[in-house]
Symmetry: C2
Subunit: 234 residues, 2 copies
């Protein structure tokens, strides 16, 4: 019998682990000693924060980055094929959602390894819940283009979809570019269009506000270097 | 100072509460005694399952259904405006995601009540994680049309978006119509298009498989009456 591939979420920033990871998820993670991770240091920090009991020296950490090849992944999955449970651990939030790891999961399906997604925080679904926007129809678009004209064109396109399909549009930006993105949204969108800005989700600095473009124009928050997520709706 | 509106997820079906709800979320829920809920019976069952300690007789449960008016909601939010923390509790999964409650959150924002989304299970993000599909760009479309021609047209439209925008397409169906939906997908989509079927997420019957349309045509699962979610990608 083959082992399982557990998809393990991690805290978003310095949030309380017991606010965002269920206790029995923590128990499952403690039974594992082989993980696929983006950065060793963050992975060890997370495992320590959940009270991981085995020696952190004896665990196996396989690196996942842009140099990871299909051949590497086959090696990573080898012990699961032989019957051992292993984990794919996110840096922050949920693996495979605005996060790498999909290729690992694809190959696990091909090898008929059972894939088990575990509950944890994702700024996407948490901000959608708290936005008050349409949760029956929504799209996450990742990062918008960096080039000014392309970006404005994309914002306009997303706003058009809001009105034509009644679909909430969600997107993110590199934190040091947040303020510029908000300026572009305020200049581009209709005054009545609603924008939800959700920052530092699930931390003590969490801030979530939904206002019309006109209301945001009146008073703007400073989002520089704050992990934020942006949602548009009508 | 105003109270907070906590958005409280619930288990999906008969799953283990400690696998899907973080322990400190449970602690927060235990401090509340006023909730907005869809069905009293399910709400009491959930509160009991998390070991809610106050008397279940003395709690205030406000009904949320198609008869709930704006005026009702203003009354529901009244104690929060006066400084008390209250909760919006889902029947299953996360409030406001493929679930009612958005109007409550909208009005809370208007009244400048702090909205706090709590971590829990949602079949949408869990199935997306486990699908192996694109998690940088995805859309949830809710239910497809019931009428045969409309439905086939919609499936074709979603498949086209998969190829034109590289956007994962997610949708659901009423459980007793699942098998018919799968038949329609298999007849409509290209043989190489990939379909992930995720059923009974986070329960002991959980089943998640990603295969090409051609592979699914070879062997089909019986999904009748099983809570399922469907994802298309290339």
């Amino acid at each position: 019998m083959k082992g399982k591939l557990y998809l393990i979420p991690a805290t978003l920033g310095e949030s309380d682990v017991h606010m965002v990871i269920p206790s029995n998820v923590i128990e499952i993670v403690k039974t594992l000693d082989e993980f696929i991770v983006e950065q060793e240091k963050t992975a060890r920090h997370f495992l320590k924060s959940i009270g991981y009991e085995s020696s952190l020296d004896s665990i196996i950490l396989h690196p996942l980055n842009k140099h990871t090849s299909h051949e590497d992944i086959l090696i990573y999955l080898d012990n699961a094929i032989k019957g051992k449970n292993i984990g794919l651990l996110s840096e922050a939030g949920c693996p495979c959602i605005a996060d790498p790891g999909n290729i690992i999961v694809q190959m696990a399906h091909q090898k008929q390894i059972q894939v088990v997604p575990l509950v944890g925080p994702s700024s996407i679904y948490l901000s959608l819940m708290a936005s008050g926007f349409n949760g029956q129809n929504f799209a996450f678009n990742g990062y918008l283009p960096i080039e000014k004209n392309e970006r404005v064109k994309k914002i306009k396109e997303l706003e058009n979809i809001v009105y034509s399909k009644s679909q909430t549009q969600i997107f993110i930006e590199t934190p040091y570019r947040n303020n510029q993105l908000v300026q572009d949204i305020l200049k581009t969108c209709n005054k009545e269009t609603k924008l939800c800005i959700a920052s530092s989700i699930s931390t003590t600095d969490e801030s979530i506000a939904t206002k019309s473009i006109a209301q945001w124009q009146y008073k703007l928050p400073d989002l520089n270097k704050k992990n934020s997520i942006f949602l548009l709706y009508k």
